[in-house]
């Protein structure tokens, strides 16, 4: 059997086994407890009845996640550039960047709502805060990790500072940047969800998946709650898939991490 086929069959088999165990557990529960674990069928049913709401909420969350994510990429790249230029700037800002990462979003959310207003704006800011740190740390690391000999070579050829940054340091930092991007891509939908859960409730029509989750749990619509979780998973997969694709486009021709090992 070819390796490729095996790579498809094995995860599929795991999935089937998982669903079988799921059904087994569900039907071994006594009838009055079965609501605790809806069956996959019931969850698909929940998609049918709540599909429009879920799709609407998913779009809102995706919008917040995307805006926060892109904003974090832009600002973190600029900050990383500033940090890479001077070790003094690095030393003076690093502790506060750490602190930014430590901010507990749940506690901060009520104030944030007062500052920027509920709904999308708060969701974007919270996503931004969650994505920012891994991006800025990795990109900065990349920008300062350029091969010293090549930097000397550039200096010897009298490269200007912008030439050194854009022709040498920035491309050399790409693998690090994409490492940060992958981490941030997994965080962005979660960040948007948490943001929505804490700050989306008073947004009315602009509520996202977090807000839907609050409604479904208050109405004891557990299958719909599971469906909400599934939608969030899909959203996360889309983010990661896009980043993995971009990373492949940027790096596969030259970076060792994409080296084919079969030749």
């Amino acid at each position: 059997m070819s390796k490729r086929l095996l790579n498809l069959l094995l995860p599929a088999a795991t999935g089937v086994l998982f669903i079988a165990v799921w059904y087994a557990v569900r039907f071994s529960l006594s009838e009055d407890m079965q609501f605790l674990l809806p069956s996959p069928g019931e969850i698909i049913g929940a998609f049918r009845t709540n599909g429009a709401d879920l799709a609407h909420a998913a779009l809102n969350t995706a919008e917040g996640a995307l805006l926060g994510f892109v904003g974090a990429i832009a600002i973190s790249s600029l900050l990383a550039l500033a940090l890479s230029v001077s070790s003094l700037v690095r030393v003076s800002l690093y502790p506060y960047l750490m602190m930014l990462q430590m901010i507990p979003v749940i506690i901060f959310a009520p104030i944030l709502i007062l500052w920027v207003g509920p709904g999308l704006k708060s969701v974007v800011v919270i996503t931004f805060l969650i994505c920012f740190f891994p991006l800025v740390v990795n990109t900065t690391q990349g920008l300062v990790s350029t091969d010293r000999n090549i930097v000397e070579l550039f200096r010897m050829y009298r490269a200007t500072r912008p030439q050194e940054i854009f022709l040498l340091r920035a491309p050399a930092a790409l693998p690090y940047f994409f490492t940060g991007l992958r981490i941030a891509a997994t965080l962005a939908p979660i960040g948007a969800l948490v943001g929505d859960y804490t700050a989306g409730s008073s947004a009315g029509d602009g509520g996202g998946l977090g807000f839907q989750a609050i409604i479904y749990s208050s109405q004891a619509k557990y299958p719909a709650l599971f469906a909400t979780a599934a939608v969030t998973c899909v959203l996360g997969f889309v983010f990661v898939a896009v980043v993995v694709g971009l990373s492949w486009l940027a790096l596969h021709q030259w970076h060792d991490s994409y080296e084919r090992t079969d030749n």
């Binding site: 090549i150 200096r155 010897m156 009298r158 030259w254």
Partner: protein, 261 residues
Amino acid sequence: MFRAPMAATPLVDLHDLTKRYGEGSVVLDRINLAAAPGDFISLIGPSGCGKSTLLRLIAGLSPLTGGSLLIDGRTPEEAAAELAFVFQEPTLLPWLTAAQNVGVPLKLRGVPADQRLATCARVLELVRLADRAHAHPRQLSGGQKMRVSIARALSLSPKLLLLDEPFGALDEMTREHLNEELLAIREAQAWTAFFVTHSVAEAVFLSSRILVMSANPGRVHTEIAVPFAYPRTAATRLSREYHDLVTEVSRLLRSVETADT
């Protein structure tokens, strides 16, 4: 001072060149040397004799502590356009193709793309890599990467080529081939070379002059003139005189090294 009218003015002129790191030990102690255009000078000696440091000083990568250093009558900074450096590692940019790597110095100097392309093609031809122009560094062998690195150094038609153990990491066969190629290129493009190496055979094969250096502090111990006429080929290595000279320089180098310990 009287100078013979026909004598070429030195391309590189070192006078009492001294290098110290901070208040610490003296790395290079009063080096005097004049390199005429067309010289191929090898620097050989025990580790710590400062041969790589000397190369870096000439390249302007590191400031001198004392004495003077003139290239073509100017400081290394002013003469930057005349010199090129080849590191021990190929130091290629992995995201660029071989041709693009060769074009980096031209690009930094603002040469337009079409001229750059023409020069890159010509120089890659010179190092016999025209067919690999569009390969990325990871697709090239160690010897091929080094060829690209040399091609990049030659792209600006330098007067002075500084090579810091460029073939040190390559196997014997590849090294000998590249030695021959380097001399063949030199026939076509008359540059002057400073070449740091650990290999006596390589130094004798390539050089017109060999400077044997001693360590602590770094000094020029002996200079040896290599009498074999250029162009030299693989056949040069088979001659009796070549072997005798390799033996002589090896013996000298060993005496310098044992004196040091």
